[in-house]
Amino acid sequence: MNDMSPPNDTDSYTTPDGRTIGPVMLEVKNITLRFGGVVAIKDISFDIREGEIRAIIGPNGAGKSSMLNVINGFYHPQEGDILFRGEKRGPMKPFQIAQQGIARTFQNIALFKGMSTLDNIMTGRFTHMKAPVWKQAIWRGEAEREEIENRAFVERIIDFLEIQAIRKTPVGRLPYGLQKRVELGRALAAEPKLLLLDEPMAGMNVEEKEDMSRFILDVNDEFGTTIALIEHDMGVVMDISDRVVVLDYGRKIGDGTPAEVIANPEVIDAYLGVAHD
C-alpha cells in the first residue's frame, strides 16, 4: 500500500489500474473556519492531486460541505491558506474561482426548476460566454457564433450523460436521480479542471448509484478531470476513489487510500461506529 503514496508533491505516479496521477493541484493548508463561536473546521490540511478521485468522508456535521464551500470560495476561512497549482489564492468571489476551473454540484440539488435540462446545462457555460450584453441583445456575429459553439458543447454532455430524452423537459418534473445527473452536466459544462461533488449519490437506488459511479469514472477517464467528492456510501467510496480524507467534528482524523482509511481505528470509531478493542 505504501508505494501508492508518491515520494513528493511534484511527482507523478501510476495507480495499479493504470491511471496516471499527477502532482498536487490544490493544497489546503491549516484551514480553520469559524461561525461566531462555532468552529466548523479546525486546522485541516490535505491535498488533491491532478487526475485523482479524492473522497471526503465523515459523520454528519463533520465539516465536509463547509470544506467544499471553502474550496470554491463561498466561505472565507479565518486562518490558513489554499494553494492552487502552487500559487497562494487570495480572497476571491465564487465566480472568479469558477473561472479558475473549479465547478461543483450541491447536496440538495440547486437547479432552476422551471427551466429545461438543456437551459440548465447552458447556464454552466456562463464562464465561457465572452460577448458583451449589447452584442447578445443584437444577436449577430459573435454572440450568435458563441451560442452555437456552446450549444454544441452542451449537446456533447447530453450525449455523454445519456439524457437526450429529457433535453426539453423542465427539471422540476424529473425524478431525483436524473436531476442529480443534470446537475453534474451543468458542472461539466464549465469544463472544470477540478470538479467538486457534494453527495452525488444521496437518495439514489442501487441502479442509479451504479450509473452515477460510472459517469464519475468516465468523466475522470475521458476528460482527465480531477474530482473531489463527499459521499456516505462506503461501498462507492471504496470502489471509485484513489485517496480518502476523513473528517470528524471539524478535525482531520485520517488520510490515505481507501484500504488504509478503513483500517484506521480512529476512523472506525468515529465514522463507522463499530467498537474495537
Partner: protein, 655 residues
C-alpha cells in the same frame, strides 16, 4: 423468370449504386445526433459503403465470412451491412439486448470472423466471451465513447476502418468491383436468427432473391414511393426491420430515419413524421393507454369533447378510410372532430403524415385497432415470419379488419393442412437453417412448402386468412374440447390493465391463468384513487386490483362462451404474478412473445396451486437484472375464482 424481374439489380450493393444515379442527392438515411438531424444522401451512403467494404477487406474479410452486427439502428450500421455484402461476406445482425451468453451462442454458431458493435456496451459483451470464440478475429465499434483506453490490437473504430478503406481505394477498387459483380440473385443476402420461441435460436439464411423480390412485390402492393420516410427503431436483427429499412428502402429509395436514443423514440417520431410506419401491437396498446391516462387527467370540457368526437370517429372514420358511403352530415361532424380532436391527437402521436401503418407479430385488440383507424390512420395487419422474409399475408386497402390478417401477399401460395396448420410457398421462402439440415427438412418440404406452425383457416367469402393460435399450443382439454390459449390470452390482454397473460389447461379439466398487471395503467388508477403501494408486488396483490382483474376475466369468459368451438377455454381460476415476465429471465423471447414451456417449468408450483383448490400460494423466483446479476423475488400470491358461463350447447350436441 424472376431473374428478369429484378434485372441487374439483384444485390444490395448494385441497388445502392443504381440509387445514386436515380436519387443521388436525396436523403437515404437520417439520424439525430447531438440534437440535430444529420443525413446521408444516397451518394454519400454509397461512398461510405465502398470505403467500409475496402476497410473490411483490409482487416482480412474473406469471401463467405460471417460478420456480426450488434447495435441499435444507425445509418452507419445499415451501410456496413451493405458493405459486408459488397466485400463478399454475409451480415448477421444480432439482437443487441441479448446478454453475453446469448450473443456468444450466435457468434459461435455462425463462426463470425468480425463483429461490428455499436458502442462500449456491446464491445464489453463481446470481449467478455471472446475466449469462447476461436474464429473471431477483429472487433469494430462505431461510438468511441469510453473505449479510448482499451487494447486496440484487435479493436478498431469504424471511422478508422473507413479511413483505411479510403486510403487503400486505388489498390482495391478493381477487386471490390469484381466481388460486387460476381454476386447474383441466388447468393446469400443476410442471415437472421429467429428469436427462439422454442429452444435455441436458428440462423435463417435468406438469399438476395428472397429479400429483394419480396421487397419489390410488397413495395408495389402498397404503392410505396421515393418520398416516403420510415422511423427505424425496431431491432436490426429482426427480419421486419431488414425488409423495411433495407429491402424496401433500397428498392423504392425512401429515407430511413434513426432515433437519437432508445428513450427518445416518441419525440423523434413526432419530429420525423414518417409516412410509413410499423409497430407491434404492444406499441399501439401502450400509446393508447398513455392517451387514455392523459385524458383522464384533463379538464372536464376536454374530456367531454374527446369522448363526443371519438364516438363520431368510431362510426365514421373507418368507413371513410375504406371508401364506403358516408352521409354529408357525418362528413361535416367528422371534419369538425378532425379540427378539434383527431388532427391534434395524430400530431401528438407523431402520426400526422402516416399514409400506411402496419402491425404484426401478435393479434391486436379490436378496440385498439379501431381507435387508430377511426383517427384516420390507415393501420393494417400483416402476417409473416422470418422464414418467409416477413410477408405471407397482408391486408389490401379497403379490406381492413381486426380479426383477419389479410390475403396472400403477391406471389405467395397458401395451403391449410388437415390439422389446420397454415403452409405457404413464396419467392421469399428461406434457403435453409444454417448448419441445421434436420430442422430445414422438417420445416420446408422438397416442393418448397413451409409450415408456419400456426393454426388457422381461410374465410370463404373474403379469402382472408384468420389465425387461431400456434399449432403446437392448440390442444385438447380433459373432456376433449378444443384448447387454444392464445385466443383467450389475447382477449385478456386487450384490457389496458393486463400487460401479459398465460393460460393453462391442456389435458386438464378447466383453464387457469397467470396475469401481469400493466404498471402504467394500474399505477395511474392507484394514484387517482389514493391507493398507496410500496412495490410492484404490493400493487399486484392489492384486493381491489384483484377484483378489477377478476371482472376482466369474467368478461372474457362471457365472450369466450359465445364461441362454440372454444367455449371450454373459460378461465376458472387465476393469479397475478409477483413479477413481470421478462426476456432477461428467459420467460419471453426478445420479441416479447411468451415462452410457454419455460414458464410452465419455472412456475410449476404456482400452476399446481391453481388446480389444487388452495386460495393462496407462496412464490419465490430467481430474477436476472439487466447487468446479468441475479436476485430473488418472493411473496404470497392470492388465487381468485372467476365466474364462468355454463356451457350447455356443447353437451347437448355431444349426447
Amino acid at each position: 423468370m424472376v431473374q428478369s424481374v429484378l434485372g441487374d439489380l439483384n444485390t444490395f450493393p448494385k441497388l445502392l449504386a443504381h440509387n445514386v444515379q436515380r436519387f443521388g442527392d436525396a436523403p437515404a438515411y437520417r439520424v439525430k445526433e447531438y440534437g440535430i438531424w444529420q443525413s446521408w444522401t444516397w451518394a454519400e451512403a454509397h461512398a461510405d459503403m465502398r470505403a467500409t467494404a475496402i476497410g473490411l477487406l483490409e482487416l482480412g474479410l474473406q469471401p463467405g465470412d460471417h460478420v456480426a452486427i450488434i447495435g441499435t439502428n444507425r445509418p452507419e450500421l445499415y451501410i456496413t451491412m451493405t458493405a459486408v455484402s459488397a466485400a463478399g461476406g454475409v451480415a448477421v445482425p444480432i439482437y443487441q439486448e441479448g446478454v453475453a451468453e446469448e450473443i456468444a451462442y450466435v457468434l459461435d454458431h455462425c463462426s463470425a470472423k468480425l463483429v461490428i458493435c455499436d458502442d462500449q456496451e456491446q464491445v464489453d459483451k463481446v470481449l467478455e466471451v471472446r475466449d469462447q470464440l476461436p474464429d473471431l478475429r477483429e472487433i469494430v465499434y462505431r461510438d468511441p465513447g469510453g473505449l479510448r483506453k482499451y487494447d486496440h490490437s484487435h479493436l478498431h473504430s469504424l471511422e478508422s476502418v473507413i479511413e483505411l478503406g479510403k486510403s487503400r481505394a486505388s489498390d482495391r477498387n478493381a477487386q471490390l468491383d469484381a466481388t460486387i459483380a460476381a454476386k447474383g440473385i441466388d447468393d446469400t443476402c443476410v442471415m437472421l436468427y429467429t428469436s427462439g420461441t422454442t429452444g435455441r435460436p436458428k440462423g435463417v439464411v435468406l438469399s438476395n432473391r428472397n429479400i429483394l423480390v419480396t421487397a419489390k412485390n410488397t413495395s408495389e402492393f402498397d404503392g410505396l414511393r421515393q418520398t416516403d420516410s420510415v422511423l427505424a427503431y425496431l431491432p436490426m436483427a429482426w427480419v421486419g426491420d431488414f425488409i423495411f429499412s433495407m429491402g424496401q428502402a433500397h428498392w423504392t429509395g425512401f429515407c430511413v430515419c434513426c432515433p437519437e436514443a432508445e428513450h427518445t423514440m416518441q419525440t423523434d417520431l413526432r419530429e420525423v413524421g414518417p409516412t410509413y410506419f410499423f409497430a407491434p401491437p404492444r406499441f399501439y396498446e401502450g400509446l393508447l393507454t398513455t392517451v387514455m391516462i392523459r385524458m383522464e387527467d384533463a379538464s372536464k370540457i376536454k374530456q367531454k369533447l374527446f369522448h363526443k368526437y371519438m364516438a363520431v370517429a368510431k362510426s365514421v372514420g373507418p368507413r371513410i378510410l375504406d371508401g364506403k358511403p358516408v352521409s354529408l352530415g357525418e362528413r361535416i361532424q367528422y371534419a369538425i372532430g378532425n379540427a378539434l380532436v383527431y388532427a391534434p391527437l395524430r400530431n401528438t402521436l407523431g402520426m400526422s403524415r402516416v399514409r400506411l401503418g402496419y402491425t404484426a407479430g401478435e393479434a391486436i385488440g379490436p378496440e385498439i385497432f379501431e381507435f387508430y383507424r377511426s383517427l384516420g390512420i390507415n393501420l393494417k395487419q400483416l402476417y409473416g415470419q422470418t422464414e418467409a422474409s416477413v410477408f405471407i399475408t397482408q391486408q389490401p386497402d379497403g379490406e381492413v379488419r381486426a380479426d383477419t390478417v389479410g390475403v396472400p401477399s403477391p406471389d405467395v401460395e397458401l395451403r391449410i393442412a388437415e390439422n389446420g396448420e397454415v403452409f405457404y410457398r413464396s419467392p421469399g421462402t428461406f434457403v435453409e437453417y444454417y448448419k441445421n439440415p434436420e430442422s430445414t427438412a422438417s420445416t420446408k418440404d422438397p416442393e418448397g412448402w413451409v409450415a408456419t406452425g400456426d393454426a388457422g383457416f381461410i374465410e370463404k367469402d373474403s379469402g382472408h386468412l384468420r389465425i387461431i393460435d400456434r399449432a403446437k399450443d392448440v390442444g385438447q382439454m380433459a373432456d376433449g374440447s378444443l384448447f387454444a390459449p392464445k385466443y383467450v390470452e389475447n382477449k385478456l390482454k386487450f384490457f389496458p390493465n393486463i400487460l401479459e397473460a398465460v393460460v393453462f389447461g391442456n389435458g386438464r379439466d378447466y383453464c387457469t391463468a397467470f396475469l401481469n398487471i400493466d404498471l402504467g395503467s394500474v399505477g395511474n388508477w392507484a394514484e387517482r384513487n389514493n391507493i398507496a403501494y410500496g412495490s410492484y408486488q404490493e400493487l399486484a396483490q392489492h384486493p381491489q386490483v384483484l377484483s378489477t382483474l377478476q371482472e376482466h376475466v369474467e368478461e372474457v369468459n362471457r365472450s369466450v362462451a359465445q364461441d362454440e368451438m372454444l367455449s371450454g377455454c373459460q378461465v376458472h381460476r387465476f393469479l397475478i404474478l409477483h413479477k413481470q415476465l421478462d426476456a432477461d429471465d428467459g420467460e419471453l423471447t426478445r420479441t416479447q412473445k411468451v415462452r410457454r414451456r419455460i414458464i410452465e417449468e419455472r412456475y410449476g408450483d404456482l400452476i399446481d396451486a391453481l388446480y389444487d383448490g388452495s386460495t393462496e400460494v407462496f412464490a419465490d423466483t430467481e430474477v436476472t437484472y439487466e447487468d446479468g446479476r441475479k436476485g430473488r423475488v418472493k411473496g404470497q400470491l392470492v388465487i381468485r375464482d372467476a365466474a364462468t358461463v355454463p356451457v350447455t350447447t356443447q353437451r347437448v350436441a355431444a349426447e
